[in-house]
Every structure is written in structure tokens, then in C-alpha cells.
């Protein structure tokens, strides 16, 4: 029993760390004018690996909701599920269109792709949509984010300071 609780706790911690990393990586990568095209491309490619881990950690939820999709379900969960699919498709479009107009990643692999303005406009459009979808995804998981931050970051930090202040008082 306690083993399962510890496993869940560790998984939640890992999920939190990965989510924060993906969030920061995308926020930086979303502005290539300030971060530079090399940072933009390599960061986006490496964020793809983190997205894989994020999906693997949420696998049970994905399977559970997919199975229950046709039956009666909470409307918020349904919206969340549809939004997650939209996000997945949008990330795929962003990545593919980004690779098609790549100036750093693909040339470094020795591949030069023909110029195509459609990919460029598709990349812009899907990237702008991604920012909105990321906001919606964050908003729908806000209670989880707030709870996890409180439990694993703020509370340990608070207890650290309170023990320190207690020691100071006793000293």
C-alpha cells in the first residue's frame, strides 16, 4: 500500500518537473526573434522527447477516458480530452512545418528542403494556436498545478524556513 503511494508521489513529482520543463522550453522557443533560430529549433526538437514522457506518464488517464468516451462522462473531462487531442495534432503540425522550413536542424543532418511558403504560414498559424491551446490546457489543469505546487514546492520550502526560524529562536 505504502509502496503504491510512494510510486504515485514520485510519478507526480516527475510529472511536475517535466511539465515545468516543457512549459519553459516552449515559452522560450515560441519567440525565435529573441532566442535565435538555433535555440528555437533545437529546443523545440528536444521538447518533443519531453512530450513523449508527458504522454507516457498520463497514459492511464488517456486509456481510461478513451474507453469511457461513448458512455456518460463529466463534460469538463470530455472537453479536456478533446482539447488534449487538439493540442497533440497542433504540436504535430508545428513540428512538421517547423522541420520543413528548418534552417538549422535539417541542414545539420545534411538535408535541405525546398522552400515553401505554405509550410511557413502553417507554422505561424499552428504556433499561434498552440499558445492559446497551451493556455487552455494550463487553465483546465489549474487546480492540479496549484495543489502539486503547494504540496511539493511551497510546503517543503515553508517547512524549511519554519524549522530554520525555530532553530534561530531556540539559539
Amino acid at each position: 500500500m505504502s509502496e503504491t503511494i510512494t510510486k504515485t508521489k514520485n510519478q507526480t513529482k516527475l510529472k511536475l518537473v517535466i511539465d515545468i520543463a516543457i512549459f519553459i522550453a516552449f515559452l522560450i522557443a515560441m519567440d525565435p526573434r529573441s532566442s535565435g533560430i538555433a535555440v528555437h529549433e533545437w529546443l523545440a526538437v528536444s521538447a518533443l522527447a519531453a512530450i513523449f514522457v508527458h504522454l507516457l506518464l498520463s497514459w492511464d488517464w488517456i486509456v481510461q477516458i478513451t474507453r469511457r468516451l461513448t458512455s456518460k462522462m463529466n463534460s469538463q473531462t470530455r472537453i479536456n480530452y478533446i482539447l488534449n487531442w487538439a493540442l497533440f495534432i497542433d504540436v504535430t503540425v508545428v513540428m512538421l512545418s517547423g522541420l520543413m522550413i528548418s534552417q538549422v536542424v535539417m541542414p545539420s543532418l545534411g538535408i535541405s528542403l525546398p522552400q515553401n511558403f505554405t509550410w511557413r504560414s502553417l507554422h505561424d498559424l499552428s504556433a499561434n494556436l498552440f499558445l492559446v491551446l497551451l493556455g487552455l490546457h494550463t487553465a483546465l489543469h489549474w487546480s492540479w498545478i496549484a495543489d502539486t505546487f503547494k504540496r511539493y514546492i511551497f510546503q517543503p520550502l515553508g517547512s524549511l524556513f519554519s524549522t530554520k526560524s525555530k532553530k534561530d529562536i531556540t539559539a
Binding site: R33, S35, G36, L56, V93, S97, L113, P114, T118, R120
Partner: protein, 101 residues
């Protein structure tokens, strides 16, 4: 083994979505050329002025922070527009007294 299977499923889903996008763009008929061409096969976006971001600009810390802040503000705005009304509605629902007969 289970994880590998799951990774494979995610990869297949990615591949399907990518193939559909690629076919849709190609079917659009606006492609100048199809397929891959190896290095030296043409000009890049920068040289023809289609891609405004210049690689020569490089990445500056202040630039990254500015970009980060701008995107955080956009995401925070969307979060505030959705999360606050949602919380408010939940609080109202909780505040409604339960009738007992």
C-alpha cells in the same frame, strides 16, 4: 516492454497526423517542389527574405527573457479568462444550500 509498446503507439499517432498534414499541404498545390533535396539544392528562406528571424542575431539573455515574459503574459491571460470564472462557478455551486425535505 509495456512502455516500448506505448511509445510505438504515440509514434504511430504522430506519423498519422504528420502524413495527413503533409498530404493536405501537397494536395493544396502550392508546393514549389516536392520531396527532399540534399544540401546545395536551393536558396533558403533567409536569402529570399521569407523568414524574418535572422540566425546572425543570435540569442541574447535579455531577448530570451523578453520573449519568455511576452508568452507568459499571453498564457496567463488565457488561464485567467478560463480558470477564474470556473473557480467562481464552483464556489457558487458550493455556496448554494442543499434543500432537505
Amino acid at each position: 516492454m509495456k512502455t516500448l509498446g506505448r511509445i510505438l503507439i504515440i509514434l504511430i499517432a504522430f506519423a498519422i497526423a504528420m502524413s495527413i498534414t503533409y498530404m493536405a499541404v501537397n494536395a493544396n498545390g502550392s508546393t514549389s517542389a516536392s520531396g527532399l533535396s540534399f544540401q546545395g539544392g536551393g536558396e533558403d528562406f533567409r536569402s529570399v527574405g521569407l523568414r524574418p528571424e535572422s540566425q546572425d542575431e543570435g540569442s541574447s539573455v535579455s531577448g530570451i527573457i523578453f520573449g519568455l515574459m511576452k508568452n507568459i503574459i499571453i498564457v496567463a491571460f488565457v488561464v485567467a479568462m478560463v480558470a477564474f470564472p470556473k473557480n467562481l462557478m464552483q464556489q457558487r455551486r458550493r455556496a448554494v444550500p442543499v434543500r432537505t425535505n
